[in-house]
């Protein structure tokens, strides 16, 4: 087993265990903490694949942004003594059957598919390449989605301020 395989197994064990805990724990802030661990382990996976920039984005936006936002809303809307009520057994069984059936179907399909084997001699994804591609209008440039995303973020910001604002009525 190579070091990379060991790291992959470690990270995927963390991801799977804490994902399950996220959806099954009955304390809401613990769920948010476990979600944080899942996201940090995913960032580790990106670091392993040498997408450093993406991993840093994952840490900043997902772990440092969205999880903090979720924790803040938990702090505002619930009390420490509250526990989430358990879903009924029939609901849990049905949901588990649906999830497991879907997972098995997908995994069978993945295993049956032949993927082309490429020898990856990846050019180092340094920050310059990313910056050039993000702002170029060539074939592999992402100028338009970049601008669209910025408008989307602005719209989301204004929208959430207006929704969450106290109305005088």
């Amino acid at each position: 087993m190579t070091n990379y395989q060991f790291m992959f197994f470690l990270l995927s064990a963390i991801i799977i265990i804490f994902s399950i805990l996220t959806v099954t724990t009955r304390r809401i802030l613990r769920a948010a903490t476990f979600l944080l661990f899942v996201l940090v382990a995913t960032a580790g996976l990106y670091f392993m694949l040498r997408f450093n920039f993406l991993a840093a984005i994952q840490l900043t936006l997902y772990a440092g942004g969205i999880v903090v936002l979720i924790i803040f809303s938990v702090l505002l809307t619930s009390h420490i003594s509250q526990k989430l009520e358990k879903a009924s057994i029939s609901k849990r069984i049905l949901a588990a059957i649906a999830a497991i059936a879907g997972a098995v179907l997908c995994i069978i399909t993945i295993l049956a598919t032949e993927f082309p084997t490429v020898t990856p001699n990846p050019p180092e994804t340094d920050i310059h390449t990313i910056g050039q591609a993000l702002l170029s209008t060539d074939k592999f440039g992402y100028s338009l989605p970049f601008e669209v995303i910025s408008i989307l973020l602005l719209a989301a910001m204004i929208g959430s301020i207006i929704i969450a604002k106290k109305r005088k009525d």
């Binding site: 070091n3 304390r27 802030l29 613990r30 903490t33 944080l36 940090v40 450093n52 920039f53 840093a56 984005i57 840490l59 900043t60 772990a63 440092g64 942004g65 999880v67 903090v68 924790i71 803040f72 938990v74 702090l75 420490i80 003594s81 180092e124 340094d126 920050i127």
Partner: protein, 362 residues
């Protein structure tokens, strides 16, 4: 150049090759990781002890008193004595606290500062990992520590920690923006995020001199914003002792309290060393173009000493802040960030971009 006589790269490379020749690659990797971890752990403890002592001495100096002077000569063993006392204290928790999160929170805070310190260059070749996204990495890692603070405040099941955590969360998230933007100003000037390249680019003058007025503005903004981000005075209303007892770590005692305390000082050290590296040249000696004799003399001072001198200077400024200015009110604090620092920062970046485009920098 003269400073490369203190280059650590050959030494570390020979250690690396020796380890790989003695044992199998997997074991060599494990041994190397353990050694680096141990080195950082020891460094962490030493810097923490020193900073606590320095803070008390600086405070005493400003308030016109002696400061700790009983344990050892000039009281230098005072913090060690304090630490032993903290270790022997009983660990007290609150009733109905969320035990798991209560115990995890100090570790989240301390691991975040530990992760950040790995990317800081102490001297030529003396850094744990040289990312091409160095600055972004440090910003992203330090943005995680707020989660530890929020968890600590919530899981204590007590009202003062909760208020303190909410305040400090809002404060850290707001001031993160200014920290990131003021560093971005220098990234525009340097054209890279890699710490080793940033330091090398300051060979013929530090960025604070090279970047004219925008760099100086960015430095001032960075020092203000990072003081607020590390929850230090005059922005320490998260732990305003007169209204909130001690903020988010009120209910912690013993070694877990020591973790929060240590992480606070280490965050100050990290913030100061980023300021030293990005604005003041890091381990690079002071070079003035065309003053060759002066530059040669400066090169004889080892880079590690330059680095620690600059970091100590920034830390001293931050400590002076704490003991001179009165504490702000929470609405003033947020007004300062969103209405003054952020717009100034945005204009400053445009200004810097203009200077770089026109080639007005040195």
């Amino acid at each position: 150049m003269g400073y490369s006589r203190y280059d650590f790269t050959p030494l570390l490379h020979s250690i690396d090759q020796w380890l790989y020749s003695v044992m199998s690659p997997a074991w060599a990797l494990i041994v190397e990781l353990t050694l680096i971890g141990l080195a950082f752990l020891i460094f962490y403890a030493l810097v923490g002890l020193f900073l606590v002592y320095a803070e008390r001495k600086v405070c005493g100096f400003i308030q016109n008193r002696v400061g700790p002077n009983r344990v050892g000569k000039y009281g230098i063993f005072q913090t060690i004595a304090d630490f032993i006392k903290l270790l022997m204290k009983e660990l007290i928790g609150t009733k109905d606290a969320d035990k798991l999160l209560y115990n995890i929170a100090p570790y989240i805070v301390i691991i975040c500062s530990f992760m950040a310190i790995g990317a800081i260059p102490f001297a030529q070749g003396l850094l744990a990992i040289d990312f091409d996204i160095g600055i972004l990495y440090i910003i992203s890692v330090s943005s995680l520590s707020v989660i530890g603070v929020l968890l600590a405040g919530w899981s204590s099941n007590s009202k003062y920690p909760l208020i303190g955590a909410m305040r400090s969360g809002a404060q850290i998230i707001s001031y993160e923006l200014s920290v990131g933007l003021s560093l971005l100003t220098i990234i525009v000037l340097a054209g890279t995020m890699q710490f080793s390249k940033i330091v090398m680019a300051q060979e013929n003058g530090w960025f604070i001199f090279k970047g004219h007025i925008p760099a100086i503005i960015a430095f001032i903004l960075y020092v203000i914003a990072s003081t607020a981000e590390t929850n230090r005075g005059p922005f320490d209303l998260a732990e305003a002792e007169s209204e909130l007892t001690a903020g988010y770590h009120t209910e912690y005692s013993g070694i877990k309290f020591a973790f929060f305390y240590l992480a606070e000082y280490m965050n100050m050290f990290i913030v100061a060393s980023i300021a030293a590296t990005v604005f003041l040249g890091g381990w690079m000696p002071l070079h003035i173009p065309a003053w060759n004799g002066f530059n040669v003399v400066m090169d004889y001072i080892p880079p590690v000493i330059w680095y620690f001198m600059k970091t100590a200077f920034v830390i001293y400024i931050i400590m002076l802040f704490k003991w001179t200015f009165p504490r702000l009110r929470i609405d003033h604090l947020l007004t300062l960030e969103w209405k003054y620092l952020l717009p100034i920062n945005l204009v400053n970046i445009l200004f810097m971009a203009l200077i770089v485009l026109l080639g007005w920098h040195f």
